[in-house]
Amino acid sequence: MALMITCPVCGPRNGYEFRYGGEDKGPRPAQRELSPGDWFQYVHANDCADGIQKEWWVHRDGCGVWFTTYRDTTVNREVPPPEEDA
């Protein structure tokens, strides 16, 4: 396995320049009324998809941007966004 990640600013780069930032779970929920269950879903629970997932990365040793990409976790390759998301 090797990893290439495409930074929206810098283009395709060696995966070790980046840091993985978790599955995409949507915008941060309001904190005031957040129930323990919903908090758990947002903070700790994962789909753990063995397939394509939308996920966050930061170009840590590069431009520093946070961005989402799609990756097939079974082959560890970036893939184009699925139809409905394009």
């Binding site: 060696n14 904190q31 005031r32 908090w39 903070v43 966050w56 930061v58 520093g64 390759r77």
Partner: protein, 973 residues
């Protein structure tokens, strides 16, 4: 032993002698020899003994496919001497022998095979249980091939290179060279990697004719010339590919030649495309005693003569399954080897021209015959040949048996890259049925035998790679494809799995002494697929890394179960494809670590440094690690601490405040100029991940500090938690731009007054204030904060890094009359603990949230919905009584502080001591501990259990913090 007269195919220089030592004897080889060929030239036939049975082992291949010729070279064990170049002065020793390789006292093991069926150790040695430890020691001693001294130090030089290319060609034979040329002619950057020390592959030593009638070796030298003249091709010889990862990341490791500036070199290549043209090795023939010294592969015999000038024997029998075997017999006969007979397991399909040539030399070819048994105890004396069904046999005397069942494509790089492999009925090999993007194949690997086909396939693969990179158009590829299709295709491969033998010693894997019988036993035990047989019988897990059993094991597994050969595939091939010295991977050591601007000053002052994250920091300033004097001086006079490693940031922009409100648990909207705010960041669990101070330097312009550990992650953290918001703010990491001096102690002001250009009196610059002024007569801009981490009057001075040493020097000078001294991180640790101040990670861990630390006052519940990180978790956990809370403790015995990490116990564990010290200031033993909430009340008596205490508990009591100066008068002075 005399070498042959010079041949044009030599890779040795017989005129240049190379001296080496073997078993305390001084011997000579010649330049170009490998260690094993030099030994062979000196008459050595037994190189070592096998792992389990201690059978004699000789030269079998020349490419390190098995451990037969593994020896200890210059103190390094398991060196595959057959492809390790001989160097002047080398010290060679045999391994895994008691006595010598020729006369090994352990040789009796060979008779004990009945006691050691496949997986025997799982089913024995454990009864009775008390004998197992004894047996285990014996097993450990018997196992393992080579020996390394714990004091061994590798003295060679190791290099690393990281390259980029459009096309990386693996394998420098005719196909690989052709591929490199056609790709380079399209204007691409090409890297060509070859495992042997020279390019040429299997053309290199063969006198047979190429397409234009010239000998193959001459043809390969022509290709070599074109390759070396092409500026677009970078060639790495003696550089086997060891890894191949997704997206064509290729790793190789190179052995330096004499004169190179390195001994080993790690090569990592990111290439758009890869052409694999690794050719074939020979598929070992399975027959009784198929690994006796004197049995060797056909190519090994031919290369011994052609490349190294050594006639491999005197009288030979060949047992082959491929035209290369016939070709080698003709050639070796012409070089002077007597050949008794050539058995070819194929009934038909021979190159009749070669058969005629053999006949002309009076050499009989037996079609449909195969070697069934080698005779001779320590070397081959004779061989029994048999028809394939075993019904007819004959015995011939010989001292060399050149044996091979056919060819095995070298597909390692392909499988590592994720190619799908399947059994190919025509060649009888496991070939790629599907290749990942950007990967191409060429040459003998595909079963090609015809010289022109091999070169054309190479050119085609090079062109395909170029087309993949967009350097040529598809039409050119199609055209060449048509040309290639008109040439002879892959040859039919031999399908024989094992010779008709009854014996117990036909070896599937030489390294592990795994026999055909062991495979049968494994299947009977229920291990019926190659992957499991490999595990149960160890076949293919030795230093040859599957070279010998790789192809045969799946075929045999199917054969023994009466299944078609397509039933299984080879066991998974794993990196590294050839064994790589740990030193080569480790490369050159480069320890990266930051030093603060006053590192040298502190060193001169006796600082004892420790690595802390990316930094080196002075932890102590004497060898009294209790830091009694350092602490006293801060409490009584004044001390200087280098706090430059603190994270320092500027945050500005229209949405800066929103970002602060999201990240800090407090309310950051009510800050006033000139005043510092102590604030904490939590994570979503409500745990404090950082604490520091924030100052507002202007509208939407903030300066804040973080702990040393968080400096690297802070920007990422801000951006992560605001990533959906589209806010406009800028974060600048100033950690390295500013140094920080903590000037602390009752005399601190007296020192600063002499240096600062501003009024630093308590009225002008009170506690918790922030000021900017200059020092040293306007030369040094200072950002100053009045803080009280150590509990004394103190100033935290932030200065541009380049000026920090200057300010430090000024303070030291000015402080002389006031007893100024350095203090280190440990003294600070004691000082702050006396004050009840926490250090994150020391007084907190994963289970500790803001409230547990008693820092609830930092949480602004009324700041509105800012989606503040950690807020929800704090709310949920607020009234949970089951949490660990931070408390102060005082020991009953004032002299006896518990060690950090000691437990608070009460039948079960109910907390632990985070930090505890005998406080010289207070003349008490005090500390901070995390305890279950019911024990957290002031006055609670605690029992403390220390490691090695043997049940003797220490007594403590929960007391209020701070222990020192509870009203905080001293820091407000």
């Amino acid at each position: 032993m005399n070498r042959l007269r010079a041949l044009p195919t030599f890779r040795i220089d017989p005129a240049r002698r190379v001296a080496f030592r073997y078993r305390n004897r001084s011997l000579h080889g010649v330049a170009g020899d490998t260690v094993a060929t030099a030994l062979y030239a000196n008459g050595v036939r037994i190189f070592g003994r096998s792992l389990k049975y201690h059978r004699p082992r000789g030269l079998y291949s020349l490419d390190g496919e098995c451990s037969n010729t593994c020896m200890q070279v210059d103190g390094i064990p398991n060196v595959r001497t057959e492809n390790t170049p001989l160097r002047e002065g080398m010290q060679i020793k045999e391994q895994n022998v008691v006595g010598s390789a020729a006369f090994d006292l352990m040789a009796f093991m060979d008779k004990l095979d009945r006691l050691m069926p496949a997986g025997f150790y799982y089913r024995s040695l454990h009864k009775p249980a008390r004998l197992w430890p004894v047996a285990m020691r014996q097993v450990r001693r018997a196992a393992g091939l080579g020996k390394i001294s714990p004091d061994f130090r590798y003295g060679g030089r190791c290099d690393e290179v990281y390259l980029n290319a459009e096309v990386c060609v693996v394998g420098g034979g005719a196909a690989g060279m052709s591929a490199a040329l056609s790709a380079a002619e399209s204007g691409l950057r090409v890297i060509l990697l070859e495992a042997r020390p020279w390019l040429g592959g299997c053309f290199d030593y063969r006198p047979g004719p190429s397409q234009d009638g010239e000998p193959l070796y001459r043809r390969s030298r022509e290709l070599l010339r074109s390759v070396s003249e092409h500026p677009g091709i970078r060639v790495f010889t003696h550089s086997p590919v060891v890894g191949h990862y997704t997206d064509n990341l290729v790793t190789a490791f190179q052995t330096g030649e004499p004169g190179d500036a390195f001994d080993y070199r790690y090569i990592e290549i990111r290439s758009r495309t890869v052409v694999v043209a690794t050719g074939c090795i020979e598929r070992p023939l399975l027959f009784e005693h198929n690994e006796r010294p004197g049995v060797m592969q056909v190519g090994c015999a031919q290369r011994l003569a052609r490349t190294y000038g050594l006639l491999p024997g005197e009288r030979a029998v060949f047992s082959v399954g491929h035209d290369l075997g016939l070709e080698a017999a003709v050639d070796l006969s012409d070089l002077g080897l007597e050949i008794a007979c050539v058995a070819d397991l194929r009934q038909d399909g021979h190159d009749e021209h070669l058969v005629t040539q053999l006949a002309e030399r009076g050499i009989e070819v037996l079609r449909g015959w195969v070697a069934a048994r080698a005779h001779g105890a320590r070397a081959v004396r004779a061989v029994t040949l048999a028809t394939l069904d075993g019904t007819v046999q004959k015995r011939l005397d010989c001292d060399l048996l050149a044996a091979s069942a056919g060819l095995t494509p070298v597909v390692g790089p392909l499988t590592l890259a994720g190619a799908q492999m399947d059994y190919d009925a025509h060649t009888g090999a496991f070939l790629p049925s599907e290749l990942p993007p950007g990967l191409f194949t060429a040459g003998r690997l595909l079963g090609l035998h015809d010289a022109e086909s091999i070169e054309t396939s190479g050119r085609l693969a090079g062109l395909q790679a170029a087309a993949h990179c967009g350097a040529v158009d598809a039409a050119a590829v199609v055209e060449l494809q048509a040309q290639a299709a008109a040439l002879p295709g892959p040859q039919r491969g031999s399908k024989l799995v094992t010779a008709p033998v009854k014996g117990r010693k036909s070896f599937v894997c030489f390294d592990e002494d795994t026999t055909v019988k062991n495979v049968r036993q494994s299947i009977a035990r229920g291990f019926d697929i190659p992957e499991l047989i490999k595990r149960f019988s160890s076949a293919g897990t030795g230093p040859g890394q599957g070279g010998i059993p790789g192809h045969n094991l799946p075929l045999l597994t199917a054969h023994l179960q009466g299944k078609p050969p397509s039933s299984f595939v080879s066991t998974t091939i794993r990196a590294p494809l050839v064994p790589v010295p740990v030193a080569a991977y480790a490369g050159s050591r480069h320890d990266m670590c930051k030093r603060t601007p006053v590192h040298d000053s502190q060193k001169a002052a006796g600082g004892v440094f420790r690595r802390m994250g990316v930094w080196r920091r002075a932890r102590y300033f004497s060898d009294d690690f209790s830091c009694r004097e350092e602490v006293r001086n801060v409490r009584e006079n004044v001390g200087l601490l280098d706090a430059s490693t603190l994270g320092k940031f500027r945050l500005h922009g229209p949405d800066a405040l929103k970002a602060l409100q999201r990240i800090y648990i407090g309310d950051m909207s009510k800050m006033t100029a000139g005043k510092i705010k102590y604030a904490a960041m939590c994570n979503d669990d409500g745990c404090v991940i950082d604490d520091g101070v924030v100052v507002k330097r202007g509208e939407n312009d903030y300066y804040f500090t973080t702990s040393t550990a968080r400096a690297g992650a802070t920007i990422e953290w801000f951006r992560y938690h605001t990533r959906y918001d589209g806010w406009e703010f800028h974060l600048v990491n100033l950690t390295d731009a500013f140094g920080v001096i903590n000037l602390a102690g009752p005399n601190a002001r007296k020192v600063l007054e002499k240096v600062a250009d501003a009024d630093v009196s308590n009225e002008a610059f009170p506690f918790a204030a922030y000021r900017e002024f200059t020092a040293g007569g306007g030369a040094i801009a200072v950002r100053a904060m009045r803080l009280g981490f150590v509990g004394e009057l103190s100033f935290e001075l932030h200065v541009p890094s380049s000026l920090m040493q200057a300010l430090w020097g000024l303070l030291e000078e000015a402080g002389k009359p006031f007893g100024i001294r350095n203090f280190g991180v440990e003294a600070q640790n004691v000082l702050r603990m006396e004050k009840g101040h926490i250090i994150l990670g020391q007084e907190s861990e994963q289970r500790t949230n803001l409230l547990d630390l008693g820092l609830g006052f930092l949480w602004a519940r009324d700041k509105g919905e800012c989606k503040t990180v950690g807020e929800a978790a704090l709310r949920h956990a607020e009234n949970d009584p089951g949490r660990l809370k931070l408390v102060g403790i005082r020991m009953q015995d004032p002299q006896r502080a518990p060690k950090d990490g000691a437990l608070i116990v009460d039948r079960r564990i109910r907390g632990y001591v985070c930090t505890a010290r005998h406080s010289f200031t207070l003349e008490q033993a005090v500390g901070l501990a995390l305890v279950e909430e019911p024990l957290a009340g002031i006055g609670t008596r605690l029992d403390i259990y220390e490691d090695e205490c043997r049940g003797e508990l220490l007594k403590a009591e929960v007391v209020a913090v701070p222990f020192y100066d509870p009203d905080g008068k001293r820091m407000r002075m």
